[in-house]
């Protein structure tokens, strides 16, 4: 069995999959990849099934050495991808798959645009699932390489599973490769406590330009901007990924993969699930705008996405 050895982990590299399903009633966060689209492409390029465990590399900086041959693909954030062997170094393309030979080193540079790169291997990374998933949830101490919620560390050895098919030489068509540089326009399904907001406040949410706050993380993306007047809510209720919560300080928080299972703040709507992927690639201070989308349109597009990538 081939494996990849971590020489340098980078600031935050995590083993992830499609997330922990069926445990939210016990307060367990679903976790899973932040950028559903880039992760799906990385697995798709290698012929891996939906949700195959891969690495989410936040800000880049990961260095790995191959022990045995493997096929890899790196999608998502734009960064330098270098394959190093005794013959020298060679730059490899993103959104494409290529072979990493025994003893070769793969270096990911710092991100130039976007935030998270996804490194998949044909056959997927192998780790013992915790509550049905290998998704690394640092806060809850669940999943990851050793099952205890730790990010990748230097010296970690990542075994690679048996590849279903060897299908290498493919690239993601250029028109599907997102450009993370410009301001993000994110679609919102309006609902929840939206009716309890003053009409002018809802309008303000959609007309203002917001910025990603530095305190954002895998649990929630916090927005900086002129505060909104939020209605009060008393009792915590189950809450879904992408929910746009507005706490009393008026600065919205959009719940992401490592979100809590219940929340007590007013909710004005939910991000279009596919636009969470775009948000996951926005660094601190990145400008954001929002526009409404109907529930039906969002669902139709999401279904199409799931079917294309073979979600079971």
């Amino acid at each position: 069995m081939s494996l990849l050895e971590v020489l340098r982990p980078g600031p935050l590299s995590l083993l992830q999959d499609a997330g922990r399903q069926g445990w939210q009633h016990l307060g367990v966060s679903p976790s899973g990849v932040m950028d559903l689209q880039a992760a799906a492409w990385a697995n798709h390029l290698l012929g891996n099934p939906w949700g195959t465990p891969l690495l989410e590399v936040c800000l880049g900086g990961l260095v790995l050495r191959a022990l045995g041959d493997c096929q890899v693909a790196v999608c998502g954030a734009e960064l330098e991808i270098e394959r190093e062997s005794v013959q020298g170094r060679e730059r490899m393309p993103g959104w494409s798959c290529f072979t990493l030979g025994d003893g070769q080193i793969l270096r990911l540079g710092g991100v130039r645009s976007g935030v998270r790169a996804y490194l998949a291997v044909a056959g997927g990374f192998h780790a013992a699932p915790v509550l049905g998933s290998v998704a690394c949830q640092v806060r809850e101490g669940l999943g990851g390489v050793a099952g205890d919620g730790q990010p990748l560390r230097a010296g970690d050895r990542l075994p690679i599973g048996q590849a279903a098919s060897v299908r290498c030489a493919a690239s993601v068509p250029w028109f599907y490769q997102p450009d993370y540089r410009g301001p993000a326009l994110l679609r919102v399904i309006v609902g929840g406590d939206a009716v309890a907001f003053a009409a002018a406040e809802l309008q303000a949410f959609f007309s203002r330009v917001w910025q990603v706050a530095a305190a954002s993380d895998r649990m929630g993306m916090r927005l900086d901007g002129e505060p909104l007047q939020a209605p009060r809510r008393d009792w915590s209720q189950g809450i879904a990924e992408g929910a746009i919560q507005v706490p009393p300080d008026g600065q919205p928080i959009i719940l992401m993969a490592d979100r809590q299972t219940m929340g007590g703040y007013a909710v004005l709507g939910w991000l279009h699930p596919l636009d969470r992927a775009r948000l996951a690639q926005c660094p601190a201070h990145h400008p954001l705008r929002f526009t409404p989308v109907s529930l039906g349109d969002a669902q139709a597009e999401l279904r199409e996405f799931y079917r294309f990538f073979g979600r079971p």
């Binding site: 009633h25 809850e140 399904i189 879904a240």
Partner: protein, 225 residues
Amino acid sequence: MRLEPAGAEALLLVLAEQPQADLPLRLAQLAQRLRTELGSLVTDLVPGWTGLLIHYDLLRCDPQSLAARITPLLEQWLSEQSLPSAGERLHELPVCYDGEDLEAVAQACGLTVAQVVELHAGCEYRVGAIGFAPGFAYLGELDARLALPRRATPRVRVPVGSLAIAERQTAIYPQASPGGWHLIGRCPLRLFDPSRQPPSPFQQGDRVRFVAIDAQAFGRLAGGA
């Protein structure tokens, strides 16, 4: 009562505007029934104080077809007024009342430390909801004489097993985590273990009683756990 979209892949079922004493247990029964009847259409079911969040599989249903499946089950559940007492579970949790905030809580409530302990251990609680963190059970209702707002500044790290109170609720932190509740004691039992089946002993609607133990007994139980 209302059933409304909660994002692209969830429906929120709201059954009451305010929490009610018998609702958690009845909600747990409803959740169980929905789980059984809806099978793989539902990916996660999160009971809260006043309703249920139903996460569904968008490739197997849509909000309309799911609502059509839920409505008759809900009508049947509503028609069953009597509360079956069988299956109700009681947890007795040993706690050492020596929390960091115990004296401050007593002072803020105008009580002695002994009175705080007596009031806290003197009544039975119900699991109203499980959330915030794995295995974190919100227990209600705390005696009104002990009701305090959350701390102005949350602690960055509350130690594992801390027994805490806030407003009319009490809870034990199953893991070390940030937290804004007042710490009044410690429980030596491990309350969330992903390698155990089920990982948490609590279910919504369960009854919980606290049994005061001293530091020595705590050490024995914690060491043996």
